[in-house]
């Protein structure tokens, strides 16, 4: 029997596989396909203080081994989440984490406070890395000073596990990671999407209504893996790795690079059962490698 459970701060996961925000709805969208209780956790869609309609269509463009999106945090707001969504998912037998987004520090704090009051939400993921909103989002995550300010403010308002989601669109991700850790983040998740662009040459027009968008999918994995590796050398808090994980081997690579858990994102769109398959595949890998616990491979890269 292989031990698959991991702890992220006080957040206990039965296995290291979570689903990434914005790719898994509120979990219920996938309940026809998988047993959600087989997941380590679910990170629900980015939630803001006020409802948001998101960006105009078109919001998506397929790219080689990946896709660009410019959804722009479409969601019905935190009050709708608390009243309508939370009752439907609070008894799921998996860790449900809320991704918290905002355009001002006050917004982030207000949402975090409302989520703090929900007994069955053990953690939030602070989204300071969304590339698709005009105000806030990534702007908070690209300078150490602004990261310090927002993490500090949310830390004071929120007393459960605080995960900070980092943007790859920075010169040195380790200084951002250290800033978040210094202000009390319990964990860091990385990476959010990479800013990208696609053009229809015949029409001479951008493929996204917003011109630029966030790149995800298999094509970003080498960058994500490198960043997890670099950050794991720079901070002590546990990391959650994501970015282009398409199968169990990809997930194992993130664990070896130093992540304590992983998130499956864009791969959910291609195979709605992939998250559970990855969890099973990690277990098979551990058995094959003669390991008794997933802990044995976290940061286990041999140099």
């Amino acid at each position: 029997m292989v031990k698959l459970n991991v702890n992220i701060g006080n957040l206990k996961l039965k296995n290291p596989v979570m689903t990434a925000s914005g790719t898994f709805g509120y979990g219920t969208e996938y309940s026809d396909f998988i047993d959600l209780s087989k997941l380590g956790g679910i990170i629900v869609k980015g939630t803001t203080l006020a409802p948001r309609q998101g960006n105009p269509y078109p919001r998506m463009a397929e790219t080689p081994s990946g896709m660009l999106n410019a959804v722009g945090l479409q969601n019905k707001g935190v009050d709708h989440f608390v009243e309508k969504i939370y009752p439907q998912i609070k008894d799921l037998d998996t860790a449900v984490v809320v991704n918290v987004s905002g355009s001002t520090i006050e917004d982030y704090v207000a949402v975090a406070e409302k989520i703090n009051a929900l007994d069955n939400i053990p953690a939030i993921e602070l989204n300071i890395s969304c590339p698709n909103v005009k105000e806030g989002g990534m702007a908070f995550g690209t300078s150490p000073r602004s990261v310090e300010n927002v993490v500090k403010a949310v830390r004071q308002a929120y007393n459960k596990t605080l995960i900070v989601k980092l943007s790859p669109n920075v010169t040195d991700i380790t200084e951002i990671a250290r800033a978040a850790e210094a202000e009390g983040a319990d964990s860091l998740s990385l990476i959010n999407t990479m800013l990208g662009m696609a053009i229809d040459a015949e029409r001479r027009r951008p493929l996204l209504s917003t011109v630029t968008g966030g790149l995800s999918g298999a094509c970003v994995k080498p960058v994500a893996l490198r960043m997890v590796w670099q950050v794991s050398k720079s901070v002590k808090v546990p990391l959650i790795g994501l970015g282009g994980i398409m199968n169990a081997t990809d997930a194992v690579e993130f664990l070896l690079a130093g992540a304590s858990a992983v998130q499956i994102g864009t791969a959910n769109f291609i195979d709605p059962q992939i998250s559970v398959k990855v969890a099973e595949g990690i277990e098979e890998y551990l058995v094959r490698q003669g390991c008794h616990s997933v802990q044995e491979i976290i940061g286990g890269l041999i140099l």
Binding site: Q53, Y57, M67
Partner: protein
């Protein structure tokens, strides 16, 4: 209707014209194909084609219950559909099925309904026409294309019911667009269903509004997941941005901001 990921075995790949094939598929494990409704769609996995990262959403063309076969009309528009169109008998194609909501069937009996299709958008109208007829309604098809060879599955439509045709170059049927066909002047209808290129559907919707006939259209916004998770395929409706894959793909035109 519960959605499922199913491995399908290709039983036939029939050439329809030079850029379109009809794939017939049956569950690879021999199980009975679950129920679906006209207007629903599938997400097809494309394997072995690096340029096709995401699944391809394809309308359900027809379900042949006698042979336990799902029919999908594939028009070659890019790397993904090109690859799918080359499937050989016996190949396995993974699909997510059935997705979205279908067309609304008339609540009252004996309705005369018009089914307007353009290009590969005729696909869902075959099953819809068949089910309307079996339910005792009178479906009339009105199909448009640029030229004769772009008219797809005409024989199948004709075998179900009266089929009118327009082509832009007058190579078959009346010359012009579907909204210019004389049948619209000569006959009256209780309901219009429409699937085709955006400008065609907007013209049909405009016509339906003008003559005050209920009308449903099937949209094909670019999508990723097909199950309402990624929020990419949104259409701006009277309820704001909603996912075409989950709230649609069929919409009553009153709900659209057209």
């Amino acid at each position: 209707m519960k959605k499922a990921v199913i491995d399908m075995s290709v039983t036939a790949n029939l050439s329809v014209n030079n850029r379109c094939v009809l794939l017939k598929l049956t569950p690879a494990d021999g199980s009975i194909l679950p129920e679906c409704k006209p207007g629903q769609f599938v997400e097809m996995l494309v394997e072995g084609e690096p340029k096709a990262f995401l699944r391809r959403p394809i309308s359900i063309n027809y379900v042949d219950k006698d042979n336990n076969e799902l029919w999908l009309l594939i028009q070659m528009v890019g790397a993904g559909t090109n690859k799918l169109s080359k499937a050989a008998v016996g190949d396995i194609i993974n699909i997510i099925y059935p997705l979205g909501n279908g067309f609304t069937m008339p609540l009252e009996p004996n309705k005369k309904v018009l089914l307007v299709g353009g290009g590969v958008g005729v696909a869902p109208l075959l099953m819809l026409g068949d089910e309307l007829k079996k339910a005792g309604h009178t479906p009339i098809f009105l199909l448009g294309a640029r030229t004769k060879t772009d008219l797809l599955l005409l024989d199948q439509f004709n075998s179900i019911s009266t089929t009118y045709v327009t082509t832009e170059d007058a190579s078959e049927g009346e010359k012009g667009f579907v909204t210019q066909h004389s049948v619209l002047q000569k006959e009256s209808f209780d309901f219009i269903y429409c699937c085709g290129p955006g400008p065609m559907m907007k013209a049909v919707a405009q016509y339906a509004s003008k003559v005050a006939i209920e009308c449903e259209v099937s949209l094909e916004n670019k999508m990723a997941c097909g199950i309402g998770a990624c929020l990419c395929c949104v259409e701006n409706t009277t309820k704001g941005n909603v996912c075409v894959c989950k709230e649609g793909p069929v919409f009553n035109i009153k709900k659209l901001q057209w």
